[in-house]
Symmetry: C2
Subunit: 201 residues, 2 copies
């Protein structure tokens, strides 16, 4: 076979691993299944990585880190806080619906990290929460609102909500119900802020 730089091989294997996990689950993502997906021989795996655990560790840090759960819509102008939250969460649901295996893989990898006592999940979640926090602050500025609860607390709530919605949807795949719950959630979270505009409340 053609000679491929190690870095490139590593990248290809990580991508292949993530695809296998998304399609078949972590428990079926053996080294053999991964190299088959990548079109490589088994030995190439251990030329690129020390062990399967090392690949998973890199997979978690790299792939989970690249997951920038967009929680705000692209166009922020002229929308109420509830609308921003609704559209943001709705956008996340669309992303989930487009590639359910991806989010299912995320959940499995998170649990794997928890069981392996890898301190990866913690850092990853801290980053999600930080990102949610920035989104919430931006949304408040944009709508002349003020959170009546410390923003990090609302951020944690928002992150928990997306995880919970993910599980619910993966189980019943009920788009209509999910949409309705997202709207209710957006309304509920928006109630934790007060508007400084006369036009509202």
């Amino acid at each position: 076979m053609a000679r491929i730089p190690v870095e490139e091989r590593r990248e290809a294997l990580i991508d292949a691993a993530f695809r296998v996990i998304g399609e078949q689950g972590l428990s079926r993502a053996s080294t053999r299944a991964i190299v088959a997906e990548a079109g490589m021989s088994l030995a190439s795996f251990h030329y690129a990585f020390e062990s399967r655990d090392q690949l998973l560790e890199l997979l978690i840090t790299e792939v989970l880190a690249s997951e920038q759960r967009a929680i705000l819509p692209a166009d922020l102008k002229g929308k109420s806080l509830t609308e921003l939250l609704t559209e943001g969460l709705q956008g996340y649901l669309d992303h989930l619906r487009a590639d359910p295996g991806r989010e299912q893989a995320m959940l499995e990898l998170t649990q794997y990290a928890l069981r392996s006592a890898l301190p990866l999940a913690e850092g990853q979640y801290a980053q999600y929460t930080r990102f949610a926090l920035e989104s919430l602050e931006l949304a408040a500025r944009q709508t002349d609102s003020e959170w009546t609860v410390p923003t990090p607390v609302v951020a944690r709530l928002l992150v928990a909500l997306t995880d919970g919605f993910t599980i619910s949807w993966l189980i019943d795949r009920d788009d209509a119900h999910a949409r309705a719950s997202v709207e209710a959630a957006a309304t509920a979270i928006a109630s934790l802020a007060t508007s400084k505009r006369r036009s509202q409340q």
Copy 2:
């Protein structure tokens, strides 16, 4: 060894399996690990069950079904809707803190059911949601409130929230942060109901 009725053996094995999963995770819950925990020989396993999958299937239906996530406190009297929701969610967090492995096992089993295309997770979640719905209706009655959003929608939101909080807490084990988010969540959800009492809003 003493002769044990098959039914009793099955029950002991299911209990043992659940303990192993809680302590070490589903991936490490091999038939050997399970029989070791139950103090039996390997052959006893296959005398009681056709396969490991069959045990897991029964485990999911029986154990998950017995999980009656108590979402309301015991004493309902004289409390506001926000207080009821706060105490209910707080009680769930206490339950989680008391035995984290249990809820972690639940999550792993749910994902296993999803991957195996067992229609079990769906039914189980429908039951959780039904139970949450009843709790929400009871709480509304008790506080002379009325949900402004269809109750099943709020129920789904509540179930998603508990799942999300479970994941968050399992990852960072931050009690103070969890408590604060639960309070915020209770306030937010309560905003989806209007009170019929003059004393409130």
